[in-house]
């Protein structure tokens, strides 16, 4: 369908977003129940990168409560929806300065705390490693046998430039020998993957029995989502977060993939708070000078929301879920 060739849109008819291309959206199923009986919970746009003219719908499965994007971009759209400027490709000191250094320090402490019982020569894989931020942190924390895989060629190239052992691969293609890995990190990755159940099953295959998987992902039962659930919640990250979890759905999926849940908690993050406010401001036409105060570079916003979300963690409503899974 051509867009209004004979109908030139008059001054009143402004496209939702001018001039961008439409994506190839596909209908999908709940990845836990394998059915499509869901109700809409949010309609939004790509407020962050404006990679397409589409609006997107987040739905919640009536049976299990899983939140997912439906319809969603096809894999052929991934080049479009992950633009070269995508933050996971460029999170470094040059672009993010002080924020990068503070986050690096915090993540180093976090990983050390998680991996206290893990030997320094354990085989660790960061699944969906992006530009290798966590691999670099692991190396600095004293772990020597660390590798990564990522679906983005661009991110892999950057990680390799930093001297990291990173492969351009999907976990679903079994890039490692079965049962050859001790620890898998799945940090803000599972919400991006096309088939989370197959994905987790493939991580299960690469791990040795008793091996551990650490998952970090956005929490749909978080306090920040409560305020922005209908449209602006940063966790939707339209249209890149295809599947979103809460305690119950993450546990259900993990158990189906052959894991035992050792622990499942929430952890503090200022990112979704910051992006929720930013998305709202962008959507309602606020000047850039105002919404730029809410970004991954804005120290005051990140600091304030870190404090706020830390309080939310104490009541079990932090922005991120953190699961520790043991391979059966």
């Amino acid at each position: 369908m051509s867009q209004g060739d004979a109908f030139s849109a008059t001054e009143h008819a402004k496209p939702v977003i001018a001039s961008s291309q439409a994506l190839h959206l596909e209908q999908t199923l709940c990845s836990i129940c394998q059915i499509d009986d869901a109700e809409p919970v949010a309609v939004g746009e790509d407020f962050e990168y404006r990679t397409s003219a589409d609006s997107f719908l987040a739905v919640r499965c009536r049976r299990c409560g899983l939140v997912y994007l439906d319809p969603r971009p096809s894999t052929s759209d991934f080049e479009t929806i992950y633009p070269p400027t995508y933050h996971a490709n460029n999170f470094d000191a040059k672009h993010f300065g002080w924020v990068y250094r503070v986050r690096r320090e915090l993540e180093k402490r976090r990983l050390r705390a998680w991996l206290t019982s893990v030997a320094e020569d354990a085989a660790i894989v960061d699944v969906g490693c992006g530009d290798g931020f966590h691999l670099d942190v692991l190396r600095a924390a004293g772990f020597q046998n660390v590798r990564g895989i990522d679906a983005s060629e661009r991110a892999v190239a950057r990680a390799r430039d930093a001297g990291l052992d990173v492969t351009h691969a999907l976990a679903e293609n079994d890039p490692f020998e079965p049962q050859s890995i001790d620890v898998a990190l799945i940090i803000q990755t599972i919400e991006h993957v096309v088939a989370p159940r197959d994905f987790l099953a493939s991580v299960q295959r690469m791990l040795r029995p008793g091996g551990l998987a650490f998952i970090v992902t956005d929490n749909t039962s978080s306090a920040d989502r409560t305020f922005f659930a209908g449209r602006h919640w940063g966790g939707y990250h339209f249209p890149r977060h295809l599947t979103l979890f809460n305690h119950r759905t993450l546990a259900a999926l993990s158990e189906r993939a052959g894991f035992r849940v050792r622990s499942l908690r929430t952890m503090a993050s200022p990112v979704n708070w910051t992006y929720s406010v930013r998305n709202l401001l962008v959507d309602y036409g606020a000047p850039a000078a105002i919404y730029e105060a809410f970004s991954l570079r804005s120290v005051p916003a990140l600091a304030a929301f870190t404090l706020l979300d830390s309080a939310m963690v104490s009541i079990g409503r932090g922005a991120l879920l953190h699961a520790v899974l043991e391979r059966l």
Binding site: G4, A13, Q27, D36, V43, S55, R63, C64
Partner: protein
Amino acid sequence: MTAPIAILGGGLAGLTAARVLRTAGVPFTLFEATATLGGLASSHRDAGGFSDDVGVHFVTNRLAAAIGASAQCYRVPRYGESVWLGDRSVAYPFGLIGTPRYAASAARTIAARAIRRAPIRSAADWFSARYGNAIAREIALPLIEAWSGLPAERLALSVGEQMPGSIVRSLALKAAGSVLDRAIASGYCGSLPESPHVFHVYPYDGVATFCHRLAEGLEDAVRYETPVQQIHVENDRVVGIRAGDCEIEASAVISTAPIEILASLVRGTNALERYRRFRHRPMVFVNLRLQGRNLLPDVVVWTPLPGSPIFRLTEGPLAMPTLAPEGKTTITVDIGAQIGDEYWTMSDEALAEVALEHVAPLVPDARARFLGVRTVRTPIAYPVLDIEYEADRLALEGGLPVDGLYTVGRNGEFRNILMEDVYWRTRRRMQAVIARYRDSQVLEGNVPPQPIDAAVL
């Protein structure tokens, strides 16, 4: 092997059903009586750059996103409704409440009801109890009578279902809309909560865009110009259909036909007899092409006139500028009709005359602005909610008493629902169809039974 499911009708409901079945991997054939898809959700564009749907349609960003057609839509700049009181128009609903005579009548009614609760049996009672006798008698009842073709005493009180709910919520949404500069949808989807995030958008190429998008990839399963002539039922179970003069096996039938038509197609059971007396209200839509724009005080203007079948004027291009070339507009005049009556059989020129006369009090120079007319007649515009068959209508909610026979869509469900409700309700109803198909596959040994832990809850 299980025979494919037959879907009757390629409008919004039929295509929504088809899309859900395709995603679930359930085989089906969609039978469309005409040469094109769309049904009541079709669009027509003429050489002069004017565009019409079947009546003026308003849709939301949520429906567009669900169908995956939002990139083909623009934001609607404004939406609003007014009521014409004979000499002036007032905004609906707050302007009415602000009119002292109506406010006093409403207050008296509320006070009287606090003392003595009269039973509410009909739409006439419902509107009087809710808005006061003055608003009911002078505004609401003439409108619903023209819309339905029945006296308000004979209409079921569920006519009130379609009215927007809480006044406070409507006010809040209206205020949010003006602050946020979007036409927030109110009263356009009863299945889901209203929200400032759900607002009107419109496809550049008309509402037909939605059906075209839904039909993408389903072409192999559509049979055009193949009206379904009979539905065969044996032992209260669907076994097949007759379509395009051929007998075709079918494991189930999903009908979007008006329920009274569906009842007349079924053979082998009397279970649907009671639906044969259901009726739809035919409508004549007169699209007046006029020079200029912003001719009406609001996008929709209700014109209550006791005894007149003309009840609504819509200047679509105020909300959807692409419906008319720049500097021109369309006012759609809705006339409730009966098949064969004077309006149904009137020539386009005569209908234009009637419409211009009706519009004249609001647009005094309408005749001087007149550029042309396009009329659309539909025999199945709205279900008539006659009190006489209301109990049977309500029972429809629980499905039909024939195994494998489903009825969806506005005419099939016989409810006053708009496009987004049709979409969500049809999707929900397909869950039972899919479950029934999966059970049949398990019985035939094609798939293993679902493990007990399939549901997380």
